[in-house]
Amino acid sequence: MAYFIQVLIDAVALGSLYALVALAIGLVFGVMKLINFAQADYLTVGAYSLVIPTAAATPSMMFGGLPWALMIFCVVLSITVLALITERVAFRPLRNTDPTTLLISSFAVSYFLQSLIIMFHGGRPKSVSIGAALTRPIDILGLRVGGVQFLTMTVALLLLIALVLFLKRTSIGIQLRAAAEDFSMARLLGVAANRVIAIAFAISGILGGVISLLFVIQTGTLDIRMGIMPTVYAFFATVIGGIGSLPGAVLGGYIVGILSVFLQAYLPEEMRPFRDAGVFTIVILILLVRPQGLIVTSAAKERV
């Protein structure tokens, strides 16, 4: 029973993380029909911004050496700026093209950023330790919970709640949701296109920054591909949730996160390396039953 509850906490922690990434992708998709591959590289760049660009395997700290509040601020700010730059340079000129072209262009942006990181940091993984104090297990109601899992879960849930309040209660949040629902109608009613798109990208940058920090605390390594797995999972979260639906993205994020942790915990030992394949297969099977996703929106079907 205690094992089950620990697994459950892990599952909620990972699910919340995926839900956040999926929400970032869902918001951007909502306002400009772009599935943003480069979200993976926002995560990676965020993590790499902790260290000074060298080819060394244990590099000295850049943002990672600052006091923690300043560190979080600097990382989040630089990723937000990066997200806004990619929007301005690469995605704005393509704004009215079809989703497939946008998807390919974000693939190109992602490759570009990845090559930039390799150029400055070298391609090999690096080790970095921040927040070592947080990795100690803590006791809650007689259960020993990993400090990192607890932190991840708390931060992710708080961010999720903050984001929901922002989307539901503030004027700009409501504009964002309106734009995600029907972009041209929202514009006719006075929503400024450039502003909502910039805000969607800024949010995806902020989330990218925070999530990259959580990942580094968890794994203690930097890797060129570290952003890819969470982002690809988040893609599937948005697809099974119903593409274009924000609650669907969160729901999908929890589904893939929880599935992933439960498969890891309950698969027989020799099957565990195949966990990711299992999650993707289940996701595809869900799509077999509901090809439009769990929550179907107007964005799923092309208007005639």
């Binding site: 599935i35 690469a90 000129p93 393509l94 093209t97 989703p99 497939t100 072209t101 998807l103 390919i104 262009s105 693939f107 190109a108 942006v109 490759y111 570009f112 990845q114 090559s115 930039l116 390799i118 150029m119 890819i228 690809v232 893609f235 599937f236 697809v239 593409i243 390396p273 195949f274 966990r275 990711d276 394949a277 993707f280 297969t281 996701v283 595809i284 799509l287 077999l288 090809p291 439009q292 996703g293 799923a300 079907k301 092309e302 005639v304």
Partner: protein
């Protein structure tokens, strides 16, 4: 003459290719020949991807899956008779203990890739086009996870070495010509035209009696076979097979080639692969360094990737339909307005390509 005009889009691609290959074979150095052979194999793969992505308008990021499946299948059958029982002990006994002739091994490997494409297509082609695009990525991740961890059969993430190397530049050319012809015959066929109609307007095509599902599934399966052929060629060109070669980097390269050349026409695929292969080779040499007078000049490592991504973005922003603009090369002196003179398929193709822009 009419036959010549009808086949012109194919001949205009095949003859220059053969000319270039002949020139390289006669006058080029061994390294140039190697680069050209690799480019031709990439061309086979790119055309495989084009058969699905170009005609249906759904980009697939997962075609490396079929390439990998065929490459591993041919490796299992033809490689290293002595080591196989030790390194790949999990193979079924009749494969583990026997070595198969090259041609049957190639054909069965291609068939396996095609069968996997068909089976996965049964599920994926039910999805809307954007979801299908993303789900092809899932396919590649599933295969990558399985093949990197299935140590007793695929040797995990280590490289299988010792495959017979038989792919010369002429074999690569022959396969490229074959798939160009297949792709062309498919796209002017009834099913190809239906799929292209669905690409332009899903609703109108469905209203005219096109089944999105079946037309997409046929293209997906055919492109799976062709990608499988590319996988076999890769395996027997390199002499090694490693799952790391069948992942995102290579996918990006081929998608970039297609996009830059122009995703919506066969000529675009050929032009894109040729153009990018030349650009990459130039930058690769510049990264190694060359000397002007007495000074050694080289550009920083990794700039080749940056340039490639940069070119791709510029093309997407300023010339979305790629270098060829979605057009085939056409016989320049034909009477276009008169459908009896120009091949029927060509008129419709030309029309769909023009109206799209």
């Amino acid at each position: 003459m009419r036959i010549f005009e009808r086949l012109f889009p194919v001949l205009a691609l095949v003859i220059p290719l053969a000319g270039v290959v002949w020139t390289i074979d006669q006058f080029g150095s061994a390294s140039v020949e190697r680069v050209a052979t690799e480019a031709l194999i990439r061309l086979v793969f790119a055309i495989g991807l084009y058969i699905f992505a170009g005609n249906s308008g759904i980009v697939s990021f997962g075609h490396m899956t079929f390439c990998a499946i065929a490459a591993y299948a041919t490796a299992w059958q033809t490689c290293c008779a002595m080591l196989k029982p030790i390194t790949m002990s999990g193979l079924p006994a009749f494969i583990r203990d026997n070595t198969f002739p090259l041609l049957p091994a190639a054909l069965t490997s291609i068939a396996l890739a095609g069968v996997v494409a068909f089976t996965s297509g049964l599920i994926l082609m039910r999805l809307s086009s954007l979801s299908a695009s993303i789900s092809t990525l899932a396919l590649m991740f599933i295969l990558n996870v399985i093949y990197s961890n299935w140590t007793t059969v695929t040797m995990g993430s280590s490289t299988i070495v010792g495959l017979p190397v038989y792919v010369t530049i002429w074999i690569a050319l022959g396969c490229a010509v074959l798939v160009i012809v297949i792709a062309y015959l498919y796209q002017v066929s009834r099913w190809g035209l239906m799929l292209r109609a669905a690409r332009e307007d899903e609703v109108a095509a469905q209203a005219s009696g096109t089944s999105l599902y079946w037309s997409r599934l046929i293209a997906f399966t055919l492109s799976g076979f062709v990608a499988g052929l590319a996988g076999v060629l890769f395996a027997h060109f390199m002499g090694t097979v490693s799952i790391a070669n069948f992942f995102l980097n290579h996918t990006f390269l081929i998608v970039a080639m297609l996009v830059i050349g122009g995703m919506q026409s066969l000529a675009g695929a050929v032009v894109g692969v040729t153009f990018i292969s030349v650009v990459i080779e130039l930058f690769r040499r510049a990264e190694v360094g060359f000397s002007v007078g007495s000074t050694q000049i080289s550009i920083p490592a990794g700039s080749q990737e940056l340039i490639l991504a940069g070119i791709m973005l510029l093309i997407l922003i300023f010339r979305k339909a790629g270098i060829m603009g979605g057009k085939e090369l056409r016989w320049p002196w034909s009477v276009r307005d008169d459908g009896t003179v120009v091949g029927v398929g060509q008129v419709r193709l030309a029309h769909s390509a023009d109206s799209h822009r």
